[in-house]
Amino acid sequence: MDAILELQGVSMSFGGLKAVDNLSFTINENEIVSIIGPNGSGKTTTFNVISGLYEPDSGEILLKGESVAGLRPDAVHDKGISRTFQSLRLFSNMSVLDNVLVGMHSVTDSGVLASMLRLPKVRREEQAMRERAQEILEMFPGRFSGPRQQQPAFSLSYANRRRLEIARALASDPTLLMLDEPVAGMNPMESHEVMEQIKILRDKGYTIVMIEHDMHVVEGVSDRVIAMDHGVKIAEGTYHEVANDPQVVEAYLGKRAAEATA
């Protein structure tokens, strides 16, 4: 198994607050790793540091052995990391299809002059992009069919907007897909559906790291689980190892409860 992503002693603080503290972990090729932890434990900040929105104070981030720490978000995306956001960030007024097409920006290259002249190679690329977008949208059967693709993203239901964010992130065929709470706000049936889709993505060869609070989903899809608290990794292993780890129980339920269950 090859390491896709490797964090080595990554730290990130906001003023006096150490949001991520000397964090190290590895994500291997074609696995699904879930990051869990109570609110404010630094999960999203970890994603933000990896995806280049923040520059880590210290530590190293390697994608297939190549450093991506401190690169700007667009450069990180170019290298093959794409992500979704905990609080949805679609291009709300753009169509469903255009959202996916924007996701392909870094894997396409039509420039301004060629586009103005609509040269044959631009047409071909545009055609190929649209076909690929169809394939991606069809990964969510029945959700983005026909005329719905021309609707603005904001008009979609909450669950469909979450799906669309995943579709946009997939559009660049990323080496690593990072999902920040992909089922947040969904009902159990919808969560289950997304869970199955995430498994299908793994079967297609994607490597996925996911932040999730829904333990049913975490249990259902994760090859490995990493637990964080106060910016520190407190446990790592299979779902059952982590779920039964005293430190994890303590982080979620408090010290007394942890002693009671022990």
Partner: protein, 374 residues
């Protein structure tokens, strides 16, 4: 009555866009014939040329304002760069008479360079700051023109700009060369019309391309855009430079057409008028911007003609009417006369942020989840 208008507009909506475009081009191309057969005076051809030049300016400004979402209150400065470059390369000032194509290309490039230079420090700014800095830029350029007497003749401007020779290097008033010299209003009209049509087509292509989508994405959510692989600084710079180039191109044609240019053609008010044209027509909408520019440039002339008002009087009222018109538009039809679909959504039908809040509280209404119909 309401049902009737609805029927009409639904029928109109089904006519393919290309038909309207073709119709507009045919109308515009046919207009000078009214002059040829003596129905309208030549003065109206001049109004036509100026309207077309402003259409070009509005199309250029729309790239930054409508597509990328950056305000520019000093846009007329790029028009000035194009006009002065042309004046210097094709007038007795330095006794130069470069070929038309070379002059137009160099004028465009100089304006683009100016766009690049002003873009470097300012593109990191947002909203209000960008507005102030671009406004200052426009004024600095104008004041520099006034004070750089050696180059620009200051407030007197540059006179005697040569007519464009579409072929050949010297003024031969016979045969083919005479035919290819542009100097009558009708000739300028067609020259500028061709330029406007070409620019519109190029920009329409760009709008529905990878580049245009990147601009829209930046405007919608910059953080999501950069996280989707778009290099914000590069994409924004591209839109600023391109829009500056179009203004430079228009400026070059303007200098040729008017023979004389002086700093008073490049006042702050002119920048504001171009902004108004984009807003009135509909940000991000090419047909809208064309209509906006024609309405604001030609309509006042029509009114002036009708009212027979004295020139100085009229200028005062013109700005007043503009002001009222824009206020009315912003209140009743903020998306513009012929809006782009993105901006129509943005400006009033549904506020996505409001919707978001409602959705957040409703999302777990179990199975009943439905996409909104728009």
């Amino acid at each position: 009555m309401a049902a009737m208008t609805e029927r009409i507009s639904s029928v109109l909506a089904r006519v393919p866009r290309g038909v309207y475009m073709a119709l507009a081009v045919v109308l515009a191309a046919g207009f000078p014939l009214l002059n040829v057969i003596g129905v309208v005076e030549t003065a109206w051809l001049r109004v036509g040329v100026m309207s077309l030049l402003f259409v070009m300016l509005a199309l250029g400004l729309n790239i930054v304002m409508g597509e990328t979402g950056l305000l520019n209150l000093g846009y007329i400065a790029f028009f000035a760069f194009g006009a002065y470059t042309t004046a210097l390369l094709s007038s007795p000032k330095f006794e130069l008479r470069w070929p038309f194509l070379a002059v137009v290309v160099v004028s465009t490039l100089i304006a683009m360079l100016a766009g690049f230079v002003i873009g470097l420090p300012t593109l990191r700014l947002r909203g209000d700051y960008l507005a102030i800095v671009t406004l200052a830029f426009g004024e600095i350029v104008r004041l520099t023109i006034i004070n750089l007497q050696g180059f620009t003749n200051g407030p007197n401007g540059i006179t005697g700009i040569y007519s464009p020779l579409l072929a050949g290097g010297s003024e031969v008033k016979t045969g083919l060369a005479a035919w290819l010299t542009v100097d009558k209003p009708i000739e300028y009209y067609y020259l500028v019309l061709v330029a406007v049509v070409v620019v519109s087509i190029l920009l329409a292509n760009l709008k529905n391309s990878r580049v245009g989508r990147a601009w829209n994405a930046l405007r919608e959510d910059e953080l999501a855009a950069i996280s989707s692989g778009i290099t914000a600084s590069r994409a924004k710079m591209l839109s600023v430079v391109l829009s500056a180039g179009i203004a430079g191109f228009a400026g070059s044609l303007y200098a040729y057409y008017s023979n004389v240019i002086s700093p008073e053609s490049f006042l702050f008010m002119q920048s504001v008028i171009v902004v108004c044209m984009v807003v009135l027509g509909g940000m991000g909408s090419i047909p809208g911007v064309v209509v906006g520019a024609i309405v604001l440039q030609a309509l006042p002339q029509v009114i002036r003609q009708a009212a027979g008002a004295a020139r100085s009087d009229f200028e005062v009222y013109r700005m007043l009417i503009f002001g009222v018109l824009i206020v009315v538009m912003v209140i009743f039809r903020p998306e513009g006369l012929l809006p782009d679909k993105l901006w129509r959504r943005e400006s009033h039908e549904v506020d996505p942020r409001e919707l978001e809040k409602t959705r957040q509280s409703l999302f777990d209404l179990e199975e009943g989840e439905k996409d909104l119909e728009v």
